[in-house]
């Protein structure tokens, strides 16, 4: 079902609700409204001027403790709205909790200082599909990293590229013999998850790191990302993604702010509080022993990163976040790419939500805090459609005369604004910008409402489509973000 159909269905539902309610309000059939009218009339100095049923009248009816019997569908809408308000309040608290922890709490960077060690063997996987514009920069940077060359193996995975990606990779192989071991895929399932699964079959190292082809790792990054694996409980590690093309336009600047909030505050706060930092699929890696123990990469998932984060958590492995292990990436420069990216993330994340919510709830190894945070993290993309539904319900109930809701509507407005509209999430971004030491870019904070609305619609659209068409396991293809860098 297309998005337009969903909108049309929603409008039909709204019209149906209004008609049903209008029918239900017929004087002979609806006692509770008559009682309201009676009360209103009785309270008027001149009962002939009483308004039969109005917003202030209903308000007075409510405050006057007159029994108010609601039709079942109003009750349903009402309790759904209560539930949504509750959820939004929880997410609001979560945002504030993370931000305050980041600003005033103890910060954990337990593996950051490891600079001398007997470093383990590492394989770097670089999934690539039509990456001629960026793959050379990535390989150049990886060849310069400060890591014992005999312990570092680079595997670019060229999956059915139709541009010069293969040619560029093979040129590197010729120029750097014994350093790069490419995998050119022409068969099998397409997509990043499937590509990783295939490539991992030939891995013999203890650690696997993954970089998307547009990432440019710094010299010390491989050591920084490998250091946490000296902790035998760590199954995966995640570094920080930093946009490179910040100054291009409003979108890139908003994405820079969003990434700051997400990593500098959100991920680091989770790390500080021993919660569930998320492995993000790039600038990170996994321990082969852990990955094998939880069943390896799944190639039937739309978000192999979220998927592996939760399977590791269920298996008793920890994911850690290294805020100082930063790596440049290229963010989308046009809104069309951004919408596609968000929709893809939402679909993958929701798929993980469906798969792992219940197993996490009943898992023996995860702590209570990990369970709470893990479930909230799983639900984070579902909150966009939930918020839309909440807004819709609040408006419908208001016009249906359910003015007992005035308090709830106020709370909904306040909390939704706080949770996703301004204060909480924006507070998080503001705090992140401050922690990063920037001065001027915080002025752009007000523009985030634009990014927020686009994300809200995109995520809702992806989620509704997923719910209505069961698109979970379809089209495992390369969904990649358009590159804006020029090939060398």
């Amino acid at each position: 079902m297309s998005f337009n159909k969903i909108i049309r269905s929603s409008l039909v539902f709204i019209l149906f609700t209004l008609s049903a309610h209008a029918y239900a309000r017929q004087p002979d059939e609806n006692i509770q409204h008559k009682s309201s009218e009676y009360l209103i009339a009785a309270n008027q100095p001149d009962s002939t001027t009483a308004i039969p049923y109005s917003i202030p009248a209903a308000f007075e009816a409510e405050t006057g403790n007159v029994p108010h019997h609601r039709p079942w569908y109003i009750k349903l809408m009402l309790y759904t709205l209560y539930f949504i308000v509750g959820l939004i309040v929880i997410y609001t608290i979560r945002h504030y909790w993370f931000t305050y922890n980041r600003l005033f709490g103890a910060q954990r960077h337990p593996y950051l200082d490891v600079d001398a060690a007997d470093w383990p063997s590492v394989t770097v996987l670089i999934p690539a599909h039509n990456e001629e514009a960026v793959i050379a920069h990535n390989l150049d940077a990886l060849l310069e990293v400060d890591y014992p060359p005999e312990k570092l193996r680079l595997i670019p995975i060229n999956d059915r590229s139709t541009d010069r990606t293969r040619e560029i990779i093979d040129d590197f192989v010729r120029r750097y013999p014994g350093r790069i071991f490419p995998l050119h895929r022409q068969t099998g399932k397409p997509g990043k998850a499937a590509a990783l699964k295939d490539a991992t079959e030939s891995v013999t190292s203890e650690i696997v790191l993954v970089f998307d082809a547009d990432y440019i790792p710094g010299k010390g990054l491989i050591k920084q990302l490998t250091a946490p694996f000296f902790d035998p409980e760590v199954g995966a590690v995640m570094g920080r993604v930093v946009p490179l093309n910040v100054d291009h336009n409003l979108l890139t600047r908003l994405l820079d702010l969003e990434r700051s909030g997400g990593y500098q505050v959100d991920q680091q706060a989770r790390m500080n509080m021993h919660l569930v930092p998320q492995y993000g699929g790039t600038v990170g890696g996994v321990r082969m022993q852990a990955l094998t123990a939880v069943g390896g990469w799944r190639d039937d998932t739309l978000a192999e990163d979220t998927d592996v984060t939760y399977r590791l958590l269920l298996g008793g492995w920890k994911t850690v976040y290294q805020n100082r292990s930063e790596c440049y990436e290229e963010v989308p420069e046009d809104w069309r790419s951004r919408v596609r990216q968000v929709m893809r993330w939402a679909s993958g994340h929701n798929q993980a939500t469906a798969r792992y919510s219940l197993p996490l709830l009943f898992n023996r190894r995860a702590s209570l805090l990990e369970k709470i945070d893990g479930l909230l993290l799983l639900g984070v993309y579902a909150m966009s459609p939930v918020l839309l539904i909440g807004w819709m319900l609040a408006i419908m109930l208001f016009f249906l005369g359910e003015n007992t809701l005035h308090g709830i509507i106020a709370i909904l407005s306040l909390t939704s604004y706080s949770a996703l509209g301004n204060f909480a999430a924006f507070f998080e971004i503001g705090a992140a910008v401050r922690l990063d030491g920037h001065r001027k870019r915080i002025c752009l904070l007000s523009f985030n409402i634009l990014g927020f609305l686009v994300s809200l619609i995109s995520v809702s659209r992806a989620t509704f489509s997923q719910l209505l068409t069961r698109r979970n396991d379809n089209k495992l293809v390369w969904h990649k973000t358009e590159r804006f860098r020029r090939s060398p």
Partner: protein, 365 residues
């Protein structure tokens, strides 16, 4: 006022109020202010020798020709370097001669550079860097900003270092000295008792005179997973142990171990893997661990223990006498908020504390 004018005024003021928060953002966007990417940390920033390398490059650029020119032993050259940094260059074997003002104030506010040894008296403040082509031999109770030497560095008791110190040869620090910042050597760093430190880096770091004490070698029996108290799960070679657990003495364990409670490892036990603790970890005497030891709380390393991998604690690490961390072929890292090391212990690699590091015990002979 007409109704239409009032409406227009209301509309205009509403729009103004609505758009006002966007104005600073529009200016920043239009002028592309603060639009550079966040600076990514490069590996050099965490290299303990970073400042020493930069200072060496500075010396090479500015004073190399003067140092190796045809100058006689005992010659002095004074002047200003780039950034108007005053310097004093002395050549050949030279006992430092100070100006009257410097003698009176007990403070040298010039960068001291020598192509040979620098021998420094007691009770002085060196507010700029020192460089010696050979050895720096400092007196007692001096305060240094930074020292670089192509030979050894020896500083007397109760001295203070403010930023960094690096020697191509050995570094020897007298008792009760306070070392802020980074101390590194291409050979050996030795700290005497009562020294406090932040970051040390060298192939060999001695805390007092090393004690050679070998734990009696005897036949060790393997420890099987079912013998472990509170074992919750075995995944591959990783054992998960809930709550407090105590491993017996004199056993061999071939696994990585994760303890959610306190972990006690019996004396003489060898672990061919790593140990992680959510609470304190106690290693008995003579314990040998081939992997790393990581704890959210404290780590107590018993006397004569050997640990080959990194020792990482989010609170404190206490290293007993005669313990050896890392080895010369594979240096490693000790990192914690607080690190307390007993005399006779040796570390290879990096010792990195975020708050306080200290050498415990009476001064060694």
């Amino acid at each position: 006022m007409s109704a239409s004018l009032a409406f227009i005024l209301l509309l205009a003021s509403t729009l103004t109020l609505l758009l006002l928060p966007f104005l600073p953002g529009l200016i920043v966007l239009w002028r592309k202010q603060d639009a550079t990417p966040l600076r990514v940390v490069r590996s050099d920033d965490v290299d303990p020798r970073y400042f020493a390398r930069r200072f060496r490059a500075y010396i090479r650029t500015n004073l190399e020709s003067s140092m190796h020119g045809s100058r006689k032993a005992g010659d002095r050259q004074e002047g200003l370097l780039e950034g108007r940094t005053p310097y004093l260059l002395v050549t050949g074997e030279n006992k430092l001669k100070l100006s009257e003002q410097e003698v009176q104030e007990r403070e040298i506010s010039r960068m001291l550079v020598s192509n040979a040894d620098l021998i420094l008296p007691d009770d002085l403040i060196f507010s700029l860097e020192l460089f010696a082509g050979r050895t720096v031999r400092g007196g007692e109770r001096n305060i240094y900003r930074a020292i670089l030497a192509d030979g050894d560095i020896v500083i007397g008791a109760e001295s203070m270092l403010l930023r960094w110190m690096h020697a191509a040869g050995n570094v020897k620090v007298g008792p009760n000295s306070l070392l802020h910042g980074r101390v590194s050597s291409d050979s050996t760093v030795r700290l005497e008792s009562g020294c406090r430190f932040e970051r040390l880096h060298a192939p060999r770091i001695e805390f007092g005179k090393p004690e050679s004490f070998s734990w009696p070698v005897k036949r060790l029996n393997p420890l099987e997973s079912h013998e472990v108290q509170n074992l919750a799960d075995v995944t591959g070679r990783r054992w998960l142990i809930d709550h407090k657990s105590e491993l017996p003495s004199g056993r061999i364990v071939n696994a990585d171990m994760v303890f959610t409670g306190e972990a006690w490892i019996g004396a003489g036990t060898h672990i061919y893997g790593s140990v992680k603790g959510h609470k304190d970890i106690f290693l008995g005497e003579g314990v040998r661990i081939m992997g790393s030891v990581v704890s959210v709380h404290d780590i107590y390393v018993g006397a004569s223990c050997e640990i080959h991998g990194p020792v990482l604690s989010e609170k404190s690490v206490n290293v007993g006498r005669g313990a050896i961390i890392g080895d010369s072929r594979s240096p490693t890292t000790i990192s914690a908020k607080n690190i307390y090391v007993s005399l006779g212990a040796v570390a290879h690699g990096t010792v990195w504390t975020r708050l306080n590091g200290m050498v415990n015990g009476a001064a060694s002979a």
